[in-house]
Structures are given as structure tokens and as C-alpha cells.
Symmetry: C2
Subunit: 479 residues, 2 copies
């Protein structure tokens, strides 16, 4: 397996090796029973000493990730070695560049009855009829939309509509400054593959969005997690960290942050932009939730203050109206955007044109009124969930009421046994997101994230009751 | 700018630097008038001597790519320095990892009247009514498809349908061995990002698909182009090359190859697979055209002979029925596939579910009969184009009649002035693909690729006549 070692990094080599392998194991990329490379082979392929590898393996063994035995070698712990398909054993030794895959591991629960894990909005709340009607008309009147690859940058008419939408939110750009992507996940990925390489320093909030962490890890970045308080990322701490390691990129989700729910204050937003200017680096401002406020609109986006093209702003439209259409917008200026378009073309030749055209009339004419209704509905859900928590949450569990967005971020009294709780919940048909995957993974997290908008209201209430009962039982057992 | 230098490679460092920069310039990533880094700065960031950079710049200047002047520095040639947006000048110095973007540069001609450049099928030949009708029914009866992120691996029902389809073509797999991607371009990209890293050796046919070359270049691979004859890639030459540089991956397009049209013989297919087994490496078998034969079906796919999971087989379904839907299938075994699914999740959280469901009934029930008709129609187009070529092609231009696929690969008597021809043609509303972009770019190619299926028949004929007249004029002027 390939591991990007940073010889000038702050962590020792054994630590880097053991942490990367632990990520691969907890991501499921290395499965229980898989054989690890021998100390000699790994040392030779990573160009480190055998002592370094031995130390890393000892560390992994002490955490129970692997078990080693004299003469036989080391294996990923927990289950007996699985039988492999005949002949495909060579694949285990075939090197890859995937250090972490928590997104893959934690978001695909097709059969879960109570899906609290993914931050999404249930179909009953979405304007699917309206978008479906547009889609029907389009395939009848303009079937050629299904034949065309369209423009790599995205449909011009849709970009113009998004442009006007953003202007209404204080972001003044031209349609040529926008690109359409297949969801924000692809936007983050395109920025990373274009501008982040091995050893580049990327700053993120602690905690952060696990899909972004996966992507930056895949580029071999040195990720540094900056603590937050109730005004968002601590920019003073970030400033000091940047003195030592200048940023290549800062990833932030400043509004109703995923997963914590915290909103960055306007003064921090300004200071963050100042910092990016002084270091001539990019900020990725990931903004899925700013339209989903409960009381008052959030502060202006960082992009709205950016005159010099330091901010790549990402807004998912499909998330709020029709997630299955996978349509987001990436706004950036100058040759930052042209390079992102080049990367987009190499990654998929452009997003499906029909999907772009299908969401267009809704965004142009109905989005604002719909968002108003949606906010009310989501606030209702959040309040229902909060009420249940207040009534039934076990002692020692705490949370802040979010001011917007889709998630509750719960702090448990202990990190102990959360993976066991996760398994038990799944057996009951309940999924949640363990906080661990929102951090670098060095220290166990005692948080979990619950999304209150992914089910019908009655299901959400039933599921949450069930979960809180389970949590209570779990906490009594680990106390 | 970031350049992956291979210190153990066969090329000198100045050569590697000048070729990478030439690629960036011809790709349009470095625009006319853009200022290059100073010799001192580039030398320091690449950790090479200033002499090395000076040599590279002299080489670029001798080819007319840049012009340098004492005291002012070096600039990309051809036009005066463009005025930059106020304040965004810092972006020029912001490093990226995009060495080549010929796909971006050469495939986006929204306003061209006679698009011969892209290998695609005109809407009139596609079953858009049938797929549109399915889409209409789905959005009415199952609107929740627009709400769901679906499964990262792709819809199970569609994978089952594809599985049966592949069985009919001699490829016996389970639905769990398949993944759905947004077109084959994404499949190639996922394999590259997962398994290819800086300095890894990737073998390709000479010429090859430019979108694959872009992707492997983006991963910092050492690409080696293997010559072809009328049986496809010369596997004996490849075998010798592998002695010196063992392959990490072999990319091939064995059937009606893009761009050359050549089909690999069955014995070469077998030997190629043997080679992959002995080197424990992957073959990417990109198969867009095997259903589009004119006389007799092509030899069995390499994947159909693969018992040990060495072949990642890619077949685009949407290309043949509805390109705008962007639905392809990637078949691979064991943990090669699971790692690709992890990469897919990080790159876009899965392809749109509605698009997957929309092509499903057609592939299940109508594909084979449709393919039969399509073959006849395409053969008709090809013969029309070939007749025009025979009548009007200037002396010294040669080509082989393809046995299937969408392209004609023309050899001109000289490589001289092809970029000028390209510009002239565009002014007349005609686009073609210059052969240069199908190679590494070291040696000028005297080939061009024309697709005969991307327009209505009458337009294709009119456009081809116009183009051949232009070509005649051009060749007279450069002789």
C-alpha cells in the first residue's frame, strides 16, 4: 500500500504509518483478516527502516487494530482470515492511493429503517412534483438534451439563473465565474485534485465534513484541524498555526457547520479572508445550509467579501430541492476556475445536461418561496427532535440547539464503546454518524451526529425514541 | 506550477520540464501572454539547478512556445500579455497538479456547425423517445428517485441488467462485480486516482484516447506509448519494454480503437492478459464500440478470458443510447472493485439514480435489436464518408476503412501546419481532432480524426466536402 510520508511533518514516521493504516482499517479498505505486508517489504517500499515499520505495527497491535504472530505475520484483527476468491489473492498486494474512505464506509445504508446518518431532506418535503413535471416536458419537447454532452463548465442558462440567485444573496459574479458540478462533493474533489498535492497544508475545522477529509487525505495533504468555539473556527489559533506551516488551502463550512451546527461570526469571516490574502491561498467555502436558517439569516458569505478571487464558493442546489439530481454550483474567479473546468472535463466530461435543465425553472422562479416553507418545516422537525432529546436523553448527554441546517451534534459523556453502540443501533435498523469520522482520527471522539430531516416526521420521532433508549442502555453498560 | 520529475526516468530533466510546460501551453492551461516563473524560482521549487530550467526555457523558446527577453522574463508566446482582473494576479503563481488538459481544450465546440471532433452519435439515431418515455413515467410514479442519493456502487437492478447483458457477450460476472459510473471517462479517472501515482508506469497504445492520457498525466504517471500494427498494440514490443519498466497498469481500447479504428487480434489479447498476470498488474479494457461492428462481431473481450481479476472492463451504455444520461459500467473483481467504489463515493457520492433507472428497461429489453439497426445506420454513414474521401481527398492523404466504431483516422502527407488548418477549419464552422493530442506530444503527428456519426447525414456530407476542399488548399500551401 502507498503511504505519503511527510519527512518534515510534525508526526514521527511510525506514527504516520500507524495512523494511515488505522484509517484504512476503520474505513474498511483493509478488511478483517487481510494480511499486512511483511515488515521487510513495507520498509523497503516506503524507504524507511524496519524498526520504523515494527514500531508502527506494535502501535496498531496495542490499539487492537491488528494481531501479529511469530512466523505467520500480521493480520487485520477481529475475524478469521476470509477466504479469497481463487486467484485474486495478488490484488491484496496491488498498491493504491486511498488512505481513507469514511464516506464510503458510513453513508451507504440502503436497508436501514431509521437513517439518521446522512444529512439529507426527506422526499415529502422536496418539490419533486414540480421538478418531475419539468423533466417530463423536457424529455418530450427537447429529447436532444439526452443526446448531448453539453458544456464542460455547465449549461450557460443554468449558470445565469444561479448567478441571479447568488446576487440576491450578496454574491456578485458573472455566469462565466460559475461551474456546475455533480453535487458539492465533486466540487471539493475537483479543488483538491487540482490544487492540493502531497505534503500541502490544508486547514479544516475540528470537527469537519468527513467527505472533505477523505478527499484531502487522498491527495496526501497534511491536514491540520483548527478548534472551534461558538463563533466558529478559531482564527487566532489558525493564524499562529499558519506561521509555522503556511496554508495551501483552508476548507470551511461557516454556516450551520456540518457536523457541529456552529456559525462563524462576521468578524471571523473577515479575518479568515485577510489571512488567505496575506498567504495568497484559497479558501473553500462550502455552503450547503445558509438558506436553511430557523430564526434570522446568517451573516454574509465569505465569498461576498472577496474581491481578489481567494474564495471558491460551493452551493448545492440539488441538496435542498432534489438531491438525486446532483447539481451544485462552484463559484471561483480567474484562472482558478478555468483550471477547475479542465479538471472537471477529465473527471467526467461534464454533468448530465437534462438534470441541469430540470432544476433550472424551479431555481429561477420558485426557490425563494419554497425555501421559506422548508425553513418552517425543518424548524418544526428540529424542535420535535429537541423535545424528545430533552425528555429522554440519558444523563450526561449534551447538545446545542442548531440555528439552521439538518443536524444535531450530540456529546456523550464518554467516547468508550461508540463503535459497539453503532453496531447495536444498526441491528435495530438505526444509523447515526460517529463523530470520529469528522476528525483526523487520532483521538476518539465522544460525539455523534443525528440528522432530523431524512425521514417522515413520525418515523423520525419513533426512531429517535428507540435510539435514545438504546443509548441509555449503552451508557449504563459502559459507565 | 507543479511538475512531477522522474529522476530515474529515460528523459533528461530539462526535457521533462519543457515537455510538461509545452503540454500546459498547448492545452491552454497556460494562456498566451502568461508570465512564466523566473528561472531562479522554478529551479528552487522543483529542486533542480538553474541551468536545468534555463535549458528547458531555451528549448521552449526554440519551438516558439514562449518568448523571453532580458530583464523582463519569459512569457507564453503569440499574443501580448492579457490584462488580468484587478487583484487576481496572485492566482498565476498558485500551484496546481494539472499537467495536461487536451480534453478540455479539444472537445467543447458548442458553436461549431460541423462537429467532426467528438466521437458521438447524432440524436436522430438514438432511442431518445423510448428513454424519455421511461423518464416521464418514473418522475410521475416514483418521484422519490429524485430525492435519493442511491447506492454508491450504482443501482442494484441496473447492475443485474448489465450483468445479463455482459453474459450475452461472454463476460460472466455477478452484479456485485459491477459499478455504475458517470460515463467511461469517470471510470478511467477512478482507476487512475486509486491505483496510479507519481512515477508509476502506464502503458498505452500509440495513438490512444486523449481523455485517458490527460487522466494518467494528472496522476504523474510515466506513460509509455506502445506502437500498433493492424493487429493492435504490439505485445512483443510491450513485453520488452516491461522488462525494463514493469507496468503498474496497461490501458487498452482493443476493439475499433479510438482513434485508429484498429482491432486487437485474439492471440494478442491472450498474450496481453498473460503479461498482466506475470506482472500482477491491471489492464483497463475500455470498450465503447464492440457493439458497433459493420461486418462481423469482434473477438471476445479480454475480460471474458480473465479468471483472476486482472482486467477492469469498461463499457459505456449511454454513449450508444443516450450520451447525455452519462451511464457506464465498470466491471472488476475482488478488492479492486471495492477500492474503486470507495473512490467513487469520494468523487461524487454516486451517479444520479433517476438517470440509471431511465436507461434500465431499454438495456434490458430493446438494446440488442436497436444495436442491430444502429450498426446498419453507422455503416451507411461510414460508407458515405469513405466515398466522399475517395472522390475528394487530396493526394497523399490516406486512411483505412474502419470495421466498426465512429471514427476515420486520416494520415496527411505532412504534420506541418495542422494547427493552422485547425484554426482555419474552425473559422468555417468545422472541427476535427488533431492527432497530436492522442500521443504524448513529443513528436508532431500527421494524423487527424474525423467522426462521421455526430451530425445528420446531409450535414456530415456537406461538412466533409467543405473540409476536404479546405484540406486541399491547406496542403497545397504547405507543400
Amino acid at each position: 500500500m502507498h503511504i505519503d510520508l511527510l519527512r518534515s511533518g510534525s508526526k514521527s514516521l511510525p506514527q504516520q504509518i500507524s495512523e494511515t493504516m488505522a484509517q484504512r482499517i476503520t474505513s474498511g479498505l483493509l478488511q478483517p483478516g487481510a494480511r499486512l505486508p511483511s515488515v521487510r517489504n513495507l520498509a523497503s517500499s516506503l524507504k524507511v527502516s524496519q524498526v520504523t515499520v515494527s514500531k508502527a505495527y506494535a502501535e496498531l497491535e496495542s490499539h487492537g487494530h491488528i494481531s501479529c504472530s511469530q512466523g505467520k505475520g500480521c493480520f487485520v484483527a477481529e475475524r478469521a482470515r476470509m477466504s479469497l476468491d481463487a486467484g485474486t489473492g495478488w490484488q491484496d498486494g496491488y498498491d493504491d492511493f486511498l488512505p481513507r474512505a469514511q464516506l464510503w464506509r458510513n453513508f451507504d445504508y440502503s436497508k436501514v429503517e431509521y437513517p439518521f446518518h446522512m444529512a439529507a431532506i426527506h422526499g415529502d418535503l422536496l418539490p419533486l412534483d414540480s421538478i418531475g413535471a419539468t423533466m417530463s416536458t423536457l424529455v418530450t419537447e427537447q429529447p436532444e438534451l439526452m443526446a448531448s454532452y453539453g458544456n464542460f463548465q455547465g449549461d450557460l442558462e443554468l449558470r445565469e439563473v444561479m448567478c441571479r440567485h447568488l446576487q440576491g444573496h450578496g454574491i456578485h459574479l458573472r455566469s462565466s465565474d460559475l461551474m456546475i458540478t455533480s453535487g458539492t462533493q465533486q466540487g471539493i474533489d475537483l479543488v483538491a485534485r487540482t490544487f492540493v498535492g502531497p505534503g500541502d497544508t490544508v486547514y479544516l475545522e475540528a470537527p469537519s465534513y468527513t467527505g472533505a477529509i477523505d478527499v484531502f487525505a487522498g491527495r496526501g495533504a497534511e491536514m491540520i484541524f483548527v478548534p472551534m468555539d461558538n463563533e466558529g473556527m478559531k482564527v487566532d489559533v489558525l493564524t499562529k498555526l499558519c506561521d509555522r506551516r503556511p496554508p495551501k488551502l483552508i476548507y470551511t463550512n461557516p454556516t450551520f457547520q456540518n457536523p457541529s451546527g456552529v456559525t462563524m461570526s462576521i468578524s471571523r469571516r473577515q479575518r479568515l479572508l485577510e489571512l488567505a490574502r496575506s498567504y495568497r491561498c484559497l479558501i473553500v467555502e462550502d455552503d450547503p445550509f445558509s438558506d436553511l436558517y430557523f430564526r434570522k439569516p446568517p451573516p454574509p458569505s465569505i465569498k461576498s467579501m472577496d474581491a481578489e478571487g481567494h474564495v471558491v464558493y460551493m452551493k448545492s442546489f440539488s441538496k435542498v430541492i432534489a438531491p438525486g439530481c446532483r447539481i451544485a454550483c462552484v463559484a471561483a474567479g480567474g484562472n482558478i476556475l478555468s483550471r477547475l473546468i479542465a479538471a472537471k472535463s477529465a473527471s467526467d466530461l461534464g454533468s448530465p445536461l437534462l438534470n441541469q435543465k430540470a432544476v433550472l425553472p424551479f431555481i429561477a422562479r420558485k426557490y425563494e418561496a419554497y425555501a421559506e416553507q422548508l425553513r418552517t418545516a425543518l424548524r418544526g422537525r428540529m424542535e420535535k427532535a429537541a423535545k424528545l432529546l430533552k425528555q429522554h436523553a440519558p444523563q450526561g448527554v449534551s447538545w446545542n440547539l442548531p440555528e439552521g441546517g439538518l443536524n444535531l451534534w450530540l456529546q456523550l459523556p464518554t467516547a468508550s464503546g461508540i463503535s459497539r453502540l453503532h453496531e447495536l443501533a444498526e441491528q435495530e435498523g438505526i444509523s447515526f454518524l460517529p463523530g470520529d469520522v469528522c476528525y483526523s482520527g487520532e483521538v476518539p471522539s465522544r460525539h455523534i451526529r443525528l440528522c432530523y430531516s431524512q425521514m417522515k416526521e413520525a418515523d423520525m420521532e419513533r426512531g429517535l425514541r428507540l435510539f435514545l433508549r438504546l443509548l441509555d442502555k449503552h451508557l449504563s453498560s459502559v459507565r
